[in-house]
């Protein structure tokens, strides 16, 4: 397994947010983490990369237990994280944003550089010197993914990449994610949009109120309209 999460529990102060979260991601797989607003998707991702201070559980990445490591060491193992709020460095140019994400090559992961990323996201190549604060939401979403790819991750946690984007940009996003997969990057993508998730994912987990309540292939999910309606419909 590329990534195994077991018995993950997280707290914000006295509030218990995640309850015994567990899931797996295979080599080269795209796995969707589906759930409504506030279900715990972002907290799951933040907990995996160590940005939630109070968490317990086992997080095994490429056979190594990384749960006791600080954030930057987890990321340097090749576990990339793309936050939901994008968190672009608004004072820095596109190229400088990419520079912050740059890490050395990794033998077991595809290598990315500026040229390759500008090919993946042509918009970015046209605004290399523009400050992050003066980009559209879609452009910022591309930049935040490109910035994480500069670290040559072998697995990426993508938090709601389609949120708030126009249909045309969402299409580009689907293409980009499929290209990443073809290059050999494993991906966990959190989504509320089942339609978007279906276009890119091999398997899906559903999270509700901090608990995993379904796990299976997309076909298995389609065979259970009851689960889909109970946990995902609006």
């Amino acid at each position: 397994m590329k990534l195994t999460v077991q018995d993950l529990n997280s707290h914000y102060g006295p509030a218990h947010i995640l309850f015994d979260i567990g899931f797996e991601v295979g080599e080269g797989e795209v796995v969707a983490l589906l759930g409504r607003n506030g279900a715990g998707k972002s907290t799951t991702f933040r907990s995996i990369v160590g940005l939630v201070a109070q968490r317990t559980g086992r997080i095994v990445f490429e056979g190594k237990n990384v749960s006791a490591k600080p954030t930057h060491e987890i990321v340097r193992e090749g576990l990339g994280y793309v936050p939901e709020e994008r968190r672009i460095f608004t004072d820095l140019t596109v190229e400088e944003n990419l520079e912050v994400g740059r890490q050395p090559k990794r033998p077991n992961a595809p290598h990315w550089d500026r040229e390759k990323l500008f090919a993946l996201f042509p918009n970015l190549g046209e605004m290399k010197n523009r400050p992050g604060g003066r980009m559209s939401g879609g452009e910022q979403q591309m930049l935040t993914i490109a910035r994480t790819l500069m670290g040559n991750p072998s697995l990426v946690l993508l938090d709601e990449p389609s949120e708030g984007l126009s249909p045309k940009i969402v299409e580009q996003m689907v293409d980009a994610i499929l290209t990443m997969k073809k290059e050999g990057v494993s991906i966990v993508v959190s989504e509320q949009n089942l339609h978007f998730a279906r276009l890119i994912s091999d398997r899906a987990y559903i999270i509700e109120r901090g608990r995993i309540c379904f796990g299976g292939t997309m076909a298995e999910l389609d065979a259970r309209p009851d689960i889909r309606d109970a946990h995902l419909s609006l």
Partner: protein, 629 residues
């Protein structure tokens, strides 16, 4: 004409050192969010070490090498401080780091006297820059010309460092969003350490370069730190260019102020700072501060009124305190009165800081205004003591109403700096308006009426007022006004969205805190029998901050304990040892590292642990995983 040009050039030369120190402070704050009070201390150590090295090694290499070696040595000390002290407190409540670095400053002040002695040291002249250049009959030291060139050169080097190197890009990114930088695989620990080292290096270099111009002495840290804060705030926190422009501005104001406005020369820079902040709240080159990401789980312990048992315990403590005159002598009672007065002062600032979330760096202004109010009424109008005590604090109230109106338009560090500026303005009025305030000589002979003259009676008066003030402010915390004020503290936007007039609430809190401080000041005037400009000076404002932080800023009444511990320890240490600053500073640093929530905060944590043992979900919390740093 030539005279003015020379004056201008002298100003530019002074700007160089100021810029070096200010840029270091600005860089450190930008990335680590630490308001490094010890920056002036690093500047001073830089000067002292440079003095020793340049005395030891002669020749051009000896001098310039000594200056650079001194700055490097101090940078190394800075790295040690960062790794041993600051790394432990990055997650502590905001401003707590200020307390830690303040403790360091105290220690350094005694240490330099211990090592280099109390006398002023006059350093060597710089080889190659010993003479003066003639300019239409006026002399300009050639070393000044060297400094004038050095400033822009350093600015250029820093600019290249931040714009053209990977380190610079990482630092700028971390200035905006530290967690995200960690989430991209950058080790924040070393980034912070390196930033701190660079900042300290700049401060020490600024100090080392001063030795040919100025004598080295053990008070130079406080003299520069205030000016540096002013520069950084005028220029805009985190902006190197801003620091340069503001350093030039401030130095020129100092150079020409004394010629053009000799009466107000001391406060000219503070007037300018106040004006800049009111017009451009983020400084000339700064950007609006992004709302700091609050660490979840930091302020989650909801406040509650005291339980009936705790009320009884507080009452018992008060009764015991009231019994002191039965067995204590006059000296102890005078000390007790002073502590009670400082409890009033501390709880007033604590109210503003903890409940209102507004950390004032100039709270002594209102304390001192209360004292001066009493002195005016008693000496000039000849009013009886009761009337003076009731009306005197109104001067503090009025001062708080005027200054508070402008101050609450800002927040965070800028609020702190504007309050500092106002306090300095009030201080210099008291200092320079000799015909009314007596200037440095103060107003003497403010003695209490016969009913309060004996130490025990005065002690009971001070204790009673302190108890009343503490209770009144506690009631305010749990009143609808207190809820509204806490709402503005926790989220300005959300509180306004539910219909709270946030600025008015904060202004009201400011006036309440200022008036309360004025009450303390009024009593203080009678305790000492005199009033001096020091009663509204910076060091008193800093004392108040330390007392609040020591008690615990996240508590309801931590100011009480903080004031008692700090003041008692301070008075006792001064009487016991010549190295009181060293011991007190060490104690503060220890408290910061061991009890990052303050004394009361720690007691509360212990009590809570005992109350619900075993706490629900303790097994889950048993091994919390620390986030980066």
């Amino acid at each position: 004409m030539a005279f003015y040009v020379v004056q201008f050039l002298t100003g530019l030369a002074s700007a160089a050192s100021l810029f070096l120190v200010a840029s270091g402070l600005s860089i450190i704050f930008g990335v680590t969010r630490i308001v490094n009070f010890a920056h002036g201390a690093f500047y001073m150590i830089g000067a002292y070490i440079a003095f020793t090295l340049t005395e030891r090694f002669s020749g051009a290499f000896g001098f310039w090498g000594g200056v650079v070696m001194a700055a490097l040595a101090v940078a190394l000390i800075g790295v040690l401080v960062e790794m041993v002290l600051l790394r432990r407190i990055y997650h502590a409540p905001e401003l707590f780091q200020l307390l830690g670095t303040f403790g360091l400053t105290l220690m350094v002040e005694d240490l330099v006297v211990l090592i280099w002695g109390p006398d002023d040291l006059v350093g060597r002249r710089a080889p190659g820059f010993k003479g003066a250049v003639d300019f239409f009959g006026q002399n300009i030291p050639s070393y000044d010309l060297f400094l004038i060139v050095l400033g822009p050169v350093v600015l250029g080097i820093l600019w290249l460092l931040f714009q053209r190197t990977r380190w610079g890009v990482l630092v700028r990114a971390a200035t905006q969003d530290r967690d995200m930088v960690a989430a991209l695989g950058v080790n924040q620990k070393w980034l912070f350490t390196s930033v701190f080292a660079v900042g300290v290096f700049l401060a020490a270099l600024g100090g080392a370069l001063q030795i040919p111009r100025d004598a080295v002495h053990h008070a130079m840290d406080l003299r520069i730190i205030v000016e540096v804060f002013v520069v950084v705030v005028i220029g805009g926190l985190g902006s190197i260019v801003g620091a340069f422009v503001a350093a030039v501005l401030v130095s020129e104001l100092n150079a020409f102020g004394i010629l053009i406005f000799p009466k107000i020369s001391i406060i000219l820079v503070f007037l300018v700072m106040a004006a800049v902040l009111i017009v451009r709240p983020w400084g000339l080159f700064g950007k609006p501060e992004a709302a700091a990401r609050k660490t979840p789980g930091l302020s989650v312990n909801p406040w509650r009124p005291l339980t009936s048992n705790e009320r009884l315990a507080s009452l018992a403590a008060l009764v015991i305190a009231a019994l002191l005159p039965l067995f204590a002598g006059n000296y102890a009672l005078t000390v007790g009165s002073e502590i009670a007065i400082f409890v009033i002062f501390a709880v007033s600032l604590h109210f503003l800081m903890s409940v209102g979330g507004l950390a004032s760096f100039g709270h002594a202004a209102y304390f001192g205004l209360g004292a001066y109010g009493v002195a005016f009424l008693a000496k000039m109008a000849g009013l009886p003591m009761i009337v003076c005590l009731l009306l005197g604090p109104l001067l503090g109230c009025m001062g708080a109403a005027v200054f508070g109106f402008f101050a609450v338009q800002l927040s965070g560090v800028y609020f702190a700096m504007l309050t500092l500026a106002f306090a300095q303005i009030v201080w210099s009025i008291a200092f320079q308006w000799v015909s009314v305030t007596g200037g440095d000589n103060g107003i003497l002979g403010v003695w209490p009426a016969s009913w309060a003259a004996s130490p025990s009676h005065f002690y009971w008066l001070a204790l009673g007022v302190a108890a009343l003030v503490t209770i009144a402010l506690r009631i305010a915390v749990f009143s609808p006004f207190g809820y509204a004020l806490r709402a503005t503290r926790d989220s300005l936007l959300r509180s306004e969205a539910v219909g709270i007039n946030a600025k008015r609430i904060q202004w009201t809190a400011f006036v309440i805190a200022g008036t309360t401080a004025g009450i303390g000041g009024a009593l203080f005037a009678y305790l000492k029998g005199s009033v001096f400009p020091d009663n509204l000076g910076i060091s008193l404002s800093v004392d108040a901050l330390v007392m609040v932080l020591l008690g615990g800023v996240e508590t309801v009444s931590g100011g009480v304990i903080g004031a008692i511990v700090y003041k008692a320890l301070n008075i006792w240490l001064v009487s016991q040892t010549d190295l009181s600053k060293l011991v007190l500073g060490g104690f503060i640093v220890l408290i910061v590292v061991v009890f990052p929530k303050g004394i009361v905060g720690m007691l509360e944590m212990l009590a809570q642990r005992r109350r619900k043992s075993p706490p629900p979900g303790s097994s889950l919390l048993a091994k919390p995983i620390e986030s980066a740093e």
